[in-house]
């Protein structure tokens, strides 16, 4: 278990301010925030690369605030892989065990085992410079995992990869507990909400060096505690459901607990569905259009969000739809609480993940 108490660190451009966090054993914890929020220096301070200006860090009850990185048993993986370019893949993965002066035969065995699990056996004799980003990141993960760390720190490990590679590696990270023993705690930093939602058992939102909210992805998403969090997540409508692909029409139909949403994204099984509030049209009469999704509901809430209004439309499922409209449209349509309206959106506006 990691316990961070009132941690502060000032590096000038980047800083941490009074960070307090509790992360449980074996948890996959996400830290989400915009660029410059201090996510990387939080990881680097946990790893011991920077000394905290104030505050304490505990790992399994032991105060590790002042001990050097090598004694912490915390692994680190950066976005840009940082593989040692003058060593082969095999030597890279073996690096830590060699520093620990583990017997050569044992190193060989462990390297082979991890290379196998990370699917990089065929690359062992190559140099990192000749490999793709995805391959390098797998090796970087293997190099950290071979130390059997209590905690793995992942600093935007998927951000530099192309979407397909990132997706595949994300699946593997999700199952990382089957590679490690199950008590390895993972702290994964990202700026992608999607990643946080899919991987994290809990997440923290960071902004300007501070933690602004902690909770399960669902909690944070449903109940953002500040303007910033709501704005930063910005997705608007999020549902969970079962998706089936209709081969004839080439669309996916998702049952989200009462209504069927049609999406142009072809993905089956258990999925998350998101629709941006700006992509939804509201009308007082049912309209005939090419849009495949149209539902009847009642206005259950109206929020003034500055230049636009956000209205909540209850269509008879657990969560209402959030729709963004201009003030002028709001006036012209003569909308008010409880009024019956229709919402309409295109299948291509429905994002599945």
């Amino acid at each position: 278990m990691i316990r961070i108490e009132h941690l502060s660190k000032d590096l000038g451009e980047f800083f941490l301010r009074d960070i307090t966090l509790d992360i449980k054993d074996g948890e996959y914890f996400m830290v989400l925030g915009p660029t410059g929020a201090g996510k990387t220096i939080l990881l680097e301070t946990i790893a011991g690369i920077y000394r905290a200006d104030s505050g304490r860090i505990f790992l399994d009850g032991q105060d590790i605030t002042d001990i050097p990185p090598r004694e912490r048993n915390i692994g680190m993986v950066y976005q840009d892989y940082t593989l040692f370019p003058f060593l082969t893949v095999e030597e890279n993965i073996a690096f830590g065990l060699k520093m620990r002066k583990v017997a050569r035969s044992e190193i060989k065995r462990r390297v082979d085992e991890l290379a196998n699990l990370m699917g990089v056996v065929h690359l062992l004799h190559r140099y990192p410079g000749t490999l793709s980003g995805g391959e390098q990141q797998r090796i970087a993960i293997a190099r950290a995992l071979i130390m059997e760390p209590k905690v793995m720190l992942l600093d935007e490990p998927l951000s530099a990869l192309d979407p397909q590679t990132a997706e595949r590696l994300r699946q593997e990270l999700k199952n990382i507990h089957s590679i490690t023993d199950t008590t390895t705690t993972i702290i994964h930093v990202t700026h992608s909400f999607e990643e946080a939602f899919l991987l994290g058992s809990r997440m923290a939102i960071m902004n300007k060096g501070e933690i602004v909210q902690v909770g399960t992805p669902n909690e944070v998403f449903r109940k953002p505690n500040s303007e910033f969090v709501a704005e930063f997540l910005g997705v608007g409508n999020l549902f969970q459901g079962e998706s089936r692909i209709d081969a004839d029409s080439g669309i996916a139909s998702i049952d989200v607990g009462g209504i069927n949403i049609v999406s142009a994204t072809l993905k089956s099984g258990s999925v998350h569905v998101s629709i941006r509030p700006e992509d939804i049209l509201v009308s007082t009469k049912q309209i005939v259009s090419s849009a495949r999704n149209s539902f009847k509901g009642k206005i259950a809430g109206i929020v003034d969000a500055g230049t636009i209004l956000k209205i909540a439309v209850d269509v008879g499922i657990d969560t209402p739809f959030v729709v963004a409209i201009t003030k002028r449209s709001f006036d012209e349509l003569n909308l008010k609480m409880g009024r019956e309206v229709y919402i309409t959106f295109k299948a291509s506006a429905v994002h599945l993940f």
């Binding site: 790893a47 011991g48 950066y78 840009d80 940082t82 370019p85 003058f86 830590g96």
Partner: protein, 266 residues
């Protein structure tokens, strides 16, 4: 058509200028190498005096290069990685020998080691720099250390500190991270820095002349040998020494181009 002609005129003039420069630089070099016969050159090279000069030059340059590395590695690391009070002043001072005439540097060193109590204390301890081969080493060190420092500083700056961070999480101390990760990654910088410092050390004349003097068979390095033998009309010996200096410069130029392309020297 007119435009094209105008353009080609400019091209012709500029290309001719570069050609002229290339000829102007190669001709004197060729003059030196072709001035004597091959057999006369061989005889001179075999002479005791030139043999001594070669050995003294190689040794002093090797020692001063090692000294440059020993002090430049930590200094360059600090200047590349840390921010501290007075850093820019130190950077400027460390570059000064690049701009200072070596002769003037030599005078300064002579005054320091010859007249001050610091110099006398060193002399009493057995370290005599005035008019000795030690003086040659110190002179070479003083004049050439900025080259090593600048190349290594540039090299360390180009290496992301995250490599060391990762190494630390993999069980290294700070020093081990530097030794096992940053040093191997600086290989080209070391090679380029050593070659340029060593070859400039071999060619060092002004500062060494002031501090170590020009004593035949005692402080006679290759450039001093050229100077001494030209002064007393021993042209064959002077040319033998000069030829070796030319060969060493060409080799080091080639090595530097090959390995040091990235390093920022000036």
């Amino acid at each position: 058509m007119l435009k094209k002609l105008k353009h080609s005129k400019i091209k012709a003039i500029t290309v001719l200028s570069s050609l002229f420069l290339a000829i102007f630089i190669s001709v004197p070099i060729i003059c030196v190498v072709t001035h004597t016969t091959l057999s006369a050159l061989m005889t001179s090279l075999a002479s005791e005096e030139i043999q001594f000069a070669i050995r003294l030059s190689l040794e002093t340059a090797a020692i001063s290069t090692i000294m440059c590395i020993a002090i430049s590695v930590p200094a360059a690391y600090a200047l590349a990685r840390y921010d501290f009070f007075g850093k820019s002043v130190i950077n400027t001072i460390l570059d000064a020998p690049l701009a200072l005439p070596p002769l003037v540097a030599g005078v300064g060193l002579l005054i320091l080691f010859g007249t001050t109590s610091f110099g006398k204390a060193l002399a009493d301890a057995g370290l005599v720099f005035v008019f000795t081969p030690y003086g040659i080493v110190i002179a070479q060190f003083f004049v050439n250390v900025p080259f090593m420092l600048r190349i290594l500083r540039g090299t360390f700056q180009s290496i992301n500190p995250r490599y060391e961070h990762v190494a630390e999480t993999l069980g290294c101390t700070r020093a081990q991270a530097f030794w096992h990760v940053t040093l191997p990654m600086s290989k080209n910088g070391f090679l380029a820095g050593s070659v340029i410092t060593w070859s400039k050390g071999i060619g060092e004349f002004g500062a060494a002349l002031m501090l170590a003097g020009a004593t035949r068979m005692k402080t006679e390095t290759l450039p001093i040998s050229v100077f001494l033998n030209m002064s007393c009309g021993e042209l064959d010996l002077a040319i033998a020494a000069a030829t070796i200096l030319i060969i060493i410069s060409l080799i080091s130029l080639f090595a530097f181009e090959r390995y040091g392309g990235f390093a920022q020297v000036f």
